[in-house]
């Protein structure tokens, strides 16, 4: 019996808001810097555009201690399974921000080497536009994610329209077998 088995009633109402508020306030990103967006993510984390104001003080390097994965940069075919692997190894609850147009939709590189949009590999929560998105855009994406966390369901984050009572044995998080990530060789 865990938090998600609690019934929605007046007694537990405040507890859920409290848990959601606490989770929103300290989302730690896993530093998954790939290309130019990674440099903008670094300058977003540095002195001028300090991300620490939003509770993202430190970029955790191991996915075990991270809540949020910012896919910063273009995802190549060779990198896709690694990205999926790191995503799977992150602890729930976890969220994904797809930073930059290359991560969101393949960007200007519509060719054999780039996965056309990282949402073919991992479920994405917030898309940040821009090439590279300036630190302000990234912060706007982070704030939208905070809103999603604060108002979203507490733990059944993945399935929308699911009955609130959760069947413990139902696997609602991510598909068991990794999605066939390599799009294969276009001819």
């Amino acid at each position: 019996m865990g938090l998600e088995d609690l019934q929605h009633n007046f007694l537990t109402g405040q507890l859920e808001d409290l848990v959601r508020w606490a989770r929103r306030a300290s989302v730690w990103p896993a530093s998954f810097g790939l290309a130019c967006c990674a440099i903008e993510m670094m300058s977003a984390g540095a002195a001028d555009f300090d991300l620490a104001r939003f509770g993202m003080e430190v970029f955790r390097n191991s996915p075990r201690q991270a809540d949020l994965m910012i896919v910063a940069g273009r995802v190549s075919q060779k990198m896709a399974p690694v990205l999926r692997q790191v995503y799977d190894q992150m602890m729930e609850p976890k969220w994904v921000i797809s930073m930059g147009v290359c991560a969101s939709s393949g960007g200007m590189f519509n060719n054999y080497a780039i996965v056309q949009g990282v949402d073919q590999i991992v479920p994405v929560d917030v898309y940040a536009p821009g090439c590279p998105p300036s630190p302000e855009t990234l912060m706007h994406a982070i704030l939208t994610l905070h809103e999603q966390i604060r108002t979203g369901e507490i733990l059944q984050r993945r399935q929308s329209g699911e009955p609130t009572h959760l069947d413990a044995h139902q696997n609602l998080w991510t598909p068991e077998v990794p999605v066939a990530v390599r799009v294969g060789t276009p001819k």
Binding site: L3, E4, D88, L155, N171
Partner: protein, 149 residues
């Protein structure tokens, strides 16, 4: 029987310890969200790559030597505790005894260090004149005129 109450505090401490340990286990099992172990999550994290070779069981001996040094100091401290309790009653005799004991233990440490347990540094290719450098003494500025041949 009258000296039973001497051991009451120890009993209390013991119970508190057990309570705290088991309490934290029960609470975390009770409140934590459901674990859904997938194969990927159970795989060791090696920067995103799932390793093919299992790490070898035989680690180089240097790691064990460091462990030995810890054991030496551990044993020494264990015997210090009871000594500290009766430190006043023993007086000079106790002091000399403890010093002798720690000297023998120190001997073991000396042997270990002489065996090179702590000489871990990387293979440094130090040439003379290298260490005492500053960021401007180590470079040569080649201006427009003096063209290096």
């Amino acid at each position: 029987m009258m000296d039973v109450d001497q051991y009451l505090p120890i009993l209390g401490l013991l119970i508190l310890g057990v309570l705290f340990a088991s309490g934290s286990f029960v609470m975390s099992a009770w409140l934590a969200p459901h674990k859904r172990p997938t194969d990927a999550k159970l795989a060791p994290y090696e920067c995103g790559i799932v390793p093919e070779y299992e790490p070898p069981q035989r680690f180089p001996v240097r790691f064990y030597l460091v462990a030995m040094i810890f054991v030496i100091f551990d044993i020494e401290v264990v015997f210090m505790y009871p000594f500290a309790v009766v430190f006043r009653q023993l007086g000079l005799f106790g002091l000399v005894e403890v010093l002798a004991f720690s000297l023998t233990v120190f001997g073991a440490l000396l042997f270990l260090v002489s065996e090179g347990a702590l000489s871990w540094g990387p293979v440094k290719h130090l040439t003379p004149g290298m260490p005492a450098r500053t960021s401007s003494s180590t470079i040569v500025r080649i201006g427009v005129n003096e063209e290096a041949a």
